[in-house]
């Protein structure tokens, strides 16, 4: 995985380059818009991290030029300005994500991971911790052991895996499980989640489902729900 880091602040650029290297990314750092254009012409990068405040060209302008030259690599914008107009401007110019300074390195890496995944998300295995789910074959393995789940339990788990790290509301789960004319109630969702938690825990999964009162459920690695039996 080779990334291009366009950041005019040498200190921050160096720090980011080192931090990304720690996580196994090779990142080339450039400090001007012109260097960025030259670099992208020479190397096919998998992802680009772009600071909007550049000394020679405006970051949004660089982005437009990149896109007009047929470079489709996902672009994550870094900026110190977090107002809505700037955000919209960047995304409209062809950026894939947006991160405001200052940020956690962990968050930057998570977003880069998500961007790199985006290209080939359709049929691949959904994975979280030692839990893996293949949407195509609807096969679930925990610690490489196959685990039997009902179709609805699998559907709930798939939703949680697909929105990994985000809270999925009870209503959202309900809507994707039942059609309009069904007279099931929201409490059915609680039953499925509860069974799912138990089955995951019994299979020795290192992910758990955390309940947020009134908000919904979130799949978390290293979270042990207290519903083991």
């Amino acid at each position: 995985m080779r990334l291009l880091l366009i950041e005019d602040d040498l200190e921050l650029g160096h720090g980011l380059q080192s931090a990304l290297a720690q996580s196994g990314y090779v990142a080339d750092a450039v400090h001007t818009g012109q260097d960025a254009l030259n670099a992208t012409a020479a190397v096919a990068y998998q992802g680009i991290v772009l600071d909007l405040g550049l000394p020679d060209l405006d970051g949004v302008e660089v982005l437009r030029l990149l896109r007009s030259r047929g470079i489709t690599a996902p672009v994550l914008i870094l900026t110190a300005r977090d107002d809505l107009q700037n955000r919209v401007l960047g995304l409209d110019a062809g950026a894939d994500d947006y991160l405001c300074k200052p940020f956690d390195v962990a968050e930057l890496e998570a977003r880069i991971r998500a961007l790199l995944r985006r290209g080939d998300s359709a049929a691949t295995t959904l994975r979280r911790g030692n839990v893996a789910f293949e949407p195509a074959s609807r096969r679930l393995t925990v610690r490489d052991q196959e685990v039997e789940l009902t179709a609805r339990e699998l559907a709930v788990l798939e939703l949680l895996l697909r929105r990994s790290g985000r809270i999925v509301s009870k209503k959202h789960i309900f809507d994707s499980l039942y059609s309009w004319d069904n007279d099931a109630s929201l409490s059915n969702v609680e039953v499925f989640v509860s069974r799912l938690r138990r089955k995951l825990a019994n299979a020795g999964a290192d992910v758990g489902i955390r309940v947020f009162r009134g908000l919904g459920y979130r799949l978390e690695q290293g979270y042990a729900s207290d519903e083991t039996s």
């Binding site: 809505l84 985000r166 809270i167 509301s169 209503k171 947020f212 009162r213 009134g214 908000l215 979130r218």
Partner: protein
């Protein structure tokens, strides 16, 4: 706006001078008319005297009516240095007893002894005529008609005399009154000029109130008081802003100091464990600075002066609240707080700036997590009618006496530990105000704090 420009002085002078001149002109015309009238009356009396003198010369001589008028008397009677006198005496039967000119026929309905005056022409000259009927000495039941006429030269001369007296007098009065008015207007308006000069030379940097309010005329006093009120407000706002900036800079100093200490310590440290520990503190200090910077920016953005750049849209408050609440899930887990939502999945519509409303909700939730009970419960709720957001915790609560003060920027309650910067509630209140909402701090039974933001209850902030 050019057409609105006017001078008070010009307006006052024209509005005083024109009516004054009109009144004086009218007065001149009236006094001229009166003088002319009375002059005429006097001349008419003289004419009547002549007629009655003629009447005394009527005698009855053996039943026959005669006018006993010697030639010398006639001459004396007719003598006048300026005007010509004509007379005519007619018997009851219409016979001319005496006459020196062709008179028009006397009015037919002449009552006895009641003189009648009229204008006529005799021999081509305009004349004033008096006609009187007197009882005939020969037969008391019949009347003799006497007419005396006089040319109008004296009367015309009188007109000129009056004119010569009245016109210069009126001009003098007009000039005197006009001068007095000019003086009164100009001297009264000079106090306005003085205020204008003082305002023109005002130094906007000094923000010192205008002096001399008491000595100013009562009409200008409210103006000066209003300007002084404005100056006071601006200077207070400036002082508050300076205080805020100074406070902010001081707030930045503490984490900066911590940052420096721990960085120097890390560089000096040879023990890898203590090195890592020092770096953890560096990260903590950076996180605090990051939080403070973010809060300062939000504070600026929610300031009334940025209201004009706010992009307000219609949005679903419940959805926004749930979305924002999710961002605090990890912080809640870190503080071992049970974070929950209580309200509809979607629903209440609010016209607002989504980013700022998120900040509002985020600050309230952040406060509840930070200052609530460790292992406690924090709930964000949304209610309809009136649209309300509330955040409640089961922590130590905020004493009633503190509730006003916690809304002040940088104020932190004495026992609040943690690493907050004291801007959260101030920001929340500012944002609420920008959305015409009011922010209330209350108790949450049995223990804890409940902050309510009620939309549509406050006065919409001026834009």
């Amino acid at each position: 706006m050019k057409h609105l420009e006017h001078s008070l002085r010009k307006r006052l002078l024209t509005r005083l001078w024109i009516p004054l001149a009109s009144v004086l002109l009218l007065g001149a015309l009236l006094s001229f008319g009166l003088a002319y009238h009375f002059g005429n009356v006097v001349h008419d009396r003289w004419l009547l005297d002549s007629a009655t003198t003629l009447a005394t010369q009527l005698r009855a001589d053996t039943g026959k009516l005669i006018l006993d008028l010697p030639q010398s008397a006639v001459e004396m009677f007719e003598w006048d240095s300026v005007d010509r006198i004509y007379e005519e005496v007619t018997s009851p039967s219409g016979r001319l007893l005496f006459g020196n000119a062709a008179f028009p026929k006397a009015p037919a309905d002449l009552a006895p002894n009641l003189p009648r005056y009229y204008d006529a022409t005799i021999g081509g000259n305009p004349v004033r005529v008096v006609a009187i009927a007197v009882a005939s000495p020969a037969d008391a039941s019949k009347t003799v008609t006497i007419q005396v006429a006089e040319t109008k030269k004296k009367r015309e001369a009188l007109v000129w005399e009056i004119m010569l007296a009245v016109v210069p007098l009126q001009i003098v009065i007009l000039l005197l009154a006009g001068t007095f008015i000019w003086f009164a207007v100009t001297s009264s308006l000079s106090s306005l000029d003085e205020v204008a000069t003082r305002l023109g030379g005002y130094d906007p940097e000094s923000l010192v109130p205008l002096r001399g309010v008491q000595s100013a005329p009562s009409e200008i006093k409210p103006l000066i008081s209003a300007i002084n009120g404005l100056i006071k407000k601006v200077s207070e706002a400036r002082a508050a802003q300076q205080r805020f900036v100074a406070n902010a800079a001081h707030q930045l100093r503490t984490p900066l100091a911590a940052l420096q200490v721990h960085t120097e310590r890390a560089l000096r440290e040879t023990n890898p464990e203590r090195h890592a520990e020092a770096l953890t503190h560096v990260l903590t200090a950076v996180t605090r600075m990051r939080h403070l910077t973010h809060q300062l920016l939000t504070m600026t953005r929610s300031d009334p002066s940025s209201a004009s750049t706010m992009v307000m849209t219609d949005l679903d408050l419940a959805q926004l609240a749930r979305d924002e609440l999710e961002r605090w899930a990890d912080a809640a887990i870190q503080h071992n707080v049970d974070l929950g939502y209580d309200g509809p999945e979607g629903g209440p519509a609010v016209h607002g700036e989504p980013q700022l409303l998120r900040e509002l909700i985020g600050n309230l939730v952040d406060n509840a997590i930070r200052y609530g009970r460790a292992g406690g419960e924090v709930t964000l709720g949304v209610r309809q009618g009136p649209t309300t957001i509330f955040v409640q915790d089961d922590g130590p609560g905020i004493a009633a006496a503190e509730r006003e003060r916690v809304l002040d920027p940088f104020y932190r309650t004495p026992r609040s530990g943690g690493d907050g910067c004291g801007l959260g509630l101030a920001i929340a209140r500012e944002i609420a105000a920008r959305h015409g909402a009011s922010l209330l701090i209350m108790d949450h039974a049995p223990q804890g704090t409940r902050v309510e933001v009620i939309f549509g209850s406050g006065r919409a902030a001026p834009v």
